[in-house]
């Protein structure tokens, strides 16, 4: 069985290098057909909205996920609530997970990178 990768994005876009590096890592993993999953937590859920660091219509690295075959996107429900995004449409779309589901997501992964 191939190695299963999970990248946890904790940092909001546009603040520091770690957030951008996590997204770059995600895209590189996709480019090598590693089929990575990504979980947005904490301030990282702000990647799933265009209203903060990016203007409408401005391209973002995350817009390339489909091109790289990355389809397993998850967002932490409590982080979305904390950021007042729990009722907002997520862009790109992500499956909302919480509590036990996050633990299972981690347990199903061989390599987890948190940034």
């Amino acid at each position: 069985m191939s190695t299963r990768y999970l990248i946890i994005v904790n940092r909001e876009p546009g603040v520091g290098a770690l957030a951008r590096e996590a997204i770059d890592l995600l895209l590189v993993a996709g480019a090598f057909d590693l089929d990575p999953a990504v979980l947005f937590m904490g301030r990282g859920v702000l990647h799933l909205t265009r209203s903060r660091a990016h203007g409408d219509g401005e391209p973002r690295p995350l817009d390339a996920l489909g091109t790289y075959g990355i389809t397993r996107l998850y967002a932490d429900a409590s982080s979305l609530r904390h950021a007042h995004l729990d009722h907002a449409p997520l862009d790109p779309a992500a499956t909302v997970v919480e509590g036990d589901a996050i633990g299972r997501l981690i347990a199903q992964s061989d390599v987890v990178l948190s940034a």
Partner: protein, 97 residues
Amino acid sequence: MAALHLVNRPAADAARARCLASLGSGDTVLFYESGVLGCTVGSIDRRNAQPNVRYVALRADVERHGVAGRLDRGVAIVDDLEFVDLVASHKPIVSWI
């Protein structure tokens, strides 16, 4: 195989909170460096904890921070060799930063 979660941030840090909210049954949380300050009496909220979660703290950092007598009930102390054993017996390893 259960996950090993590594926490080196003190109690008020968001990364630590994200870790404790993301545990699965059978997981182990290892506190080290300043993370040991977050496993003193009453500082671990187990209300929504998964069953069979094990909490451990690295001996050298517990002694360095002077919290040996103040650890939360249920937090075990491990030395460096036990740390290595934990890494070898868990998968994945999640370093919360």
